[in-house]
Symmetry: D2
Subunit: 353 residues, 4 copies
């Protein structure tokens, strides 16, 4: 179909992921153009000006909001700024796609939901979505379709892991301090998938977690770990187990297993960077993706295209803001249990986590 | 080496596994012969008499102990009889290999250890071992060797599962009632592997578990589940996660993953019944083993051979009785947590579980 | 980098592959825009007019050449028209990317090379390339890089297959009649890869082939087969084996194996449509790609981008026209041997095939 | 079932494979005992005397035949002696299992068949079989059963390879001189499988082969190669392709693919030494079996058991002697084509190869 309507996009934050959003929304999404960017780093603005002829650049986010003529804001600034920028753009009536997580604080995450609900009374076609890329990944979608088609009965055990390549750089250590902790930084994707596969209204009964700081002992000081496992019980007779690690030696190993009454699905379990297998004196071996973007690059492009399509056509975005706020609350509870050792019980009715 | 000395073996219990022990000790272990068997079921004794010319058959275990001239007793009766028969044979000064678990009760399991320690004062060359077959499986052994060679640093996360094919027969439902619960029935192997890979003196800090009865809801009544996940924390900065299920649709999927500081090992993760892949309109597919014996058959034969060799040569058996009793205590604690929801804290020094 | 210069592209032929080229050159290649299309089918022109606002449409290729202001022509018409349209565009001094094969006739294929060499005397920056998509596929490129880095010594056995999903439609039967035969239709990719991996100046010594018409017996009538195997010997002590089939039940299985003195590489051997594995009563299974485009889609986009970049920057295209003409000659010889049963010997010096 | 009757076995030749036969027939086959052995090497006889109490040892094969009281002779001497010893034992009326190949010479191979046919007039229950171990391998058997059940239609392309680990020892170079050439030494198993899967009365139409001596150039001098590919055409519209190599870097890679009208089977394509996968900085890797015995050990034990059972019960052995002689003729023809470059045409009726 011809891209008749073009959405004007502003990208806020031009770090590694911000630059990728620029590419995806400007180049790989035929119905959108990036017309403005903002970053506190001049070099990043220069990069954008070089990449896109005539793009407007702003050192200040608020100035962009005030002056630039845009339809959509993509928020990919540091996590700490996600909620604030998202709320500001919401209030202007703009469509917003915000990088995950909405916030490291569940109250703040909830305040974004509230702001959006308020705003929609005025801007009835406004779309706001937190960008959980795996929801746009073809394998995960096939799994969801098979579940929805009830091919193998009710899912009763959900196991998912986010396993990052070991990073010994000082960058990582600095980054980790403000990451919110391993369950909010890494497992947030798995939590979102759990919400998706089990349904976001599934009632949680208990949350507990254990973990260790094996390769990054300094993480202990900021209440974090480099390996952790969480267990979540639901009132409707299901359980979930989430594993996260920052210690993988071979590459990124994000895997998910959905075990149903009459069959199971395993996603990414036989990971491969590409389709090359080398046979030599080391045996038969293949490479794994090094980073999430090597594995999920295409999902991000799909995400950009589908979000834009929802804005243009006024259709529902595939991820509700409520479920994204709930993901923050679940991640926070997992962190709390990880640090205190406490098993967190959740009231069936109030579901306050 | 020539099988110069032949050990005379009695097999107690001739159910499915008992018959297999008869084959392994009589046919596939050149240094042993099965000379006597006992079972309360006449038809099973008839089977043995047909299989082995001249084998002595006893309906009563005590009568066998009294009359038969044997060096070794293999206990593969119902779980409830394991400890009692093992202790009786120990007191006679015989070598004993007992099927797992030693008991469903940790005190009784400990009493077997005590009986053996007492007996060894008299019978200094006596061997007693609980048969955890996976310790004799080549892949698990390769993993242990790599760990011991410190190829990838200290192991910090141990994940293991025993996943049985769904069985809807009334046999299963009856059996389950006396199985001691899923962690004692299924995960006991994984617990033993954890003891092996982490060291049996690793100090446990906490134990917690969750589970569901999805396909066999009646299991709830006898305090059991058909899917359960356990988490174990150690004082020396390691964690373990055990999953067990009786609901697999494709076959037995017993897998183990050992995640170390600089690498990881996955055992059985790409399971295949044999080496045939079929490509047709269903896609590319392979069969999985249907039962543990399809996968571990060879390990059982190795177990028989190595146990006999230890008896003949007076060398150490590869599994200490203490660790097998500890496995029962851990399994019992997991069951307790599964049913009560309680997180069990373990004192660092006493290690009373 | 910013797409400063934009190449104006005409696409000739708007069948399945032509439409994909329109998408790739117009949408997924930021430095090119499709400004004109031609097809003898009005409905296809209508599709283009709908897809691209303001695109010029021509029922007649020559008219397009005469009137449209373009820099690049992409030829994806029926195979029979490839050479004629390519030569016409060459003579106009335009850059040309032509779908494989250049022709079903080796003399005609050679005439394209001659036309280009003549034209380049005038249009020194002109680029002409036959589009062999696998050269742009990341796995194949990694294999080539490993070879070039001499990681495993000289390659001595090259095995490659193009294996298509069985197609029982009358479309296929009609199509097959003019496809040039299975080695020219399917194996042409493998032949090109052989030229690439072995070097296009490797001297061929002999060519022989056998085949059967198992599922499409009517192919015999037009001198074709649905399964065929070719063997190629080189004077420098290497061999190649090419398998092609139109009878696969599970999906497209294009695989390549490069066996070197000290190691080997297998490409696509563990094919998977995506990363989902389903475990159910059929066993453990995965889907395979159904068609070449499911597997190589990304390579086609890379092809478009890189061809355009070579045109803009006046750099060499990655595939020489000579090697593409040679591929036609090799494919024709394989067909000849397939039909006559003759082993074709090739003179070392003249290399007339 | 009880091993009531015990066959007395003599093993002739105690090299690597001979010793394995001793183990299999004496230890792993409950219905047979090795009572006599012969070898020209005293140290090998000493090994046997140590392994089996009271075994008779002979430096001379004829003396064994004359003096030893045996029911079965297992011939595993050097290839050159296979036929002579087999015929001598046949004439004594003994059951004979002879290692593959029957001979390196097709006439001599045929003379074994003739001798057996003659002998059977007298010794009506006599069994003679050439030991092609893969026929006793569970995966190959499953493939055959699926074929026989017509699960996927008629098989039309058979591809099989015997791929040995590179061996740079002087042992190999010496051995190769008398091995009969790569098709007779390595591919003979694949030829036997082809006979089995296609039926031993399938009419061959042509045979051709090419090859190189890449890592062992000295093989050229004795008319041999270290990599070769053969093509075989059948009159009933099927083809076969056989690849053999002595240059594998990672391990033994014996694979087979059977492509049928409505599906295909791949055997050993995802080879693994055991079920361990290591993830480290080299990627995700597994070991392959180093030698055929690592992969097929169990098949050899099955072979021993089933051959003995056929002798005891007077049932047909699973491999006809005629097909084993035919395998020698096919292997010889492949060698001839490999050396001369000639395509060998075979008369449909006489089938003289």
């Amino acid at each position: 179909m011809a891209p008749k309507k073009i959405m004007r996009v502003a990208v806020a934050g031009l770090g590694r992921m911000g630059k990728r959003h620029v590419t995806n929304f400007h180049t790989l999404s035929p119905s959108s153009r990036v017309v403005a960017v903002t970053s506190p780093v001049q070099a990043e603005l220069d990069w954008a000006a070089e990449y896109i002829d005539g793009v407007e650049t702003y050192l200040d986010f608020e100035e962009l909001l005030e002056k630039a003529q845009v339809d959509v804001v993509v928020v990919s600034s540091i996590t700490d700024g996600h909620a604030r920028q998202t709320i500001a753009a919401i209030k202007k009536g703009l469509h917003v796609m915000c990088e995950k997580p909405l916030s490291l604080d569940k109250s703040i995450a909830t305040s974004v939901v509230v702001a959006y609900e308020e705003s929609k009374k005025t801007f009835r076609k406004q779309k706001v979505m937190c960008g959980f890329s795996r929801r746009f990944d073809a394998p995960y979608r096939e799994a969801k379709e098979r579940l929805d088609a009830n091919e193998m009965g009710k899912p009763v055990v959900f196991r998912s892991q986010t396993a990052d390549l070991f990073d010994d750089s000082s960058y990582f250590t600095e980054y980790a301090k403000t990451s919110g902790g391993i369950f909010l930084d890494c497992s947030i994707h798995c939590i979102d998938l759990m919400n998706w596969f089990y349904g976001e209204d599934a009632k949680i009964k208990s949350i507990q977690a254990v973990g260790v700081a094996a390769c990054h002992p300094s993480l202990m000081e900021c209440g974090d770990r480099d390996n952790a496992i969480g267990l979540i019980e639901f009132y409707d007779n299901r359980i979930a187990q989430l594993y996260c690690t920052r210690m993988m030696a071979a590459g990124q190993e994000d895997t998910t297993e959905i075990i149903c009454e009459r069959g199971s699905m395993r996603i990414n379990m036989y990971g491969q960077k590409n389709f090359v297998e080398v046979h030599d004196s080391h045996g038969a071996r293949r490479k794994l993706p090094k980073h999430y973007y090597e594995r999920f690059r295409e999902a991000f492009a799909t995400e950009a295209n589908e979000f834009i399509a929802a804005c243009i056509n006024d259709t529902a975005v595939p991820i509700t803001l409520t479920s994204s706020a709930r993901a923050v609350a679940i991640g926070s509870a997992l962190m709390r249990s990880l640090v205190t050792g406490e098993k967190i019980l959740v009231d069936k009715k109030t579901q306050v986590i």
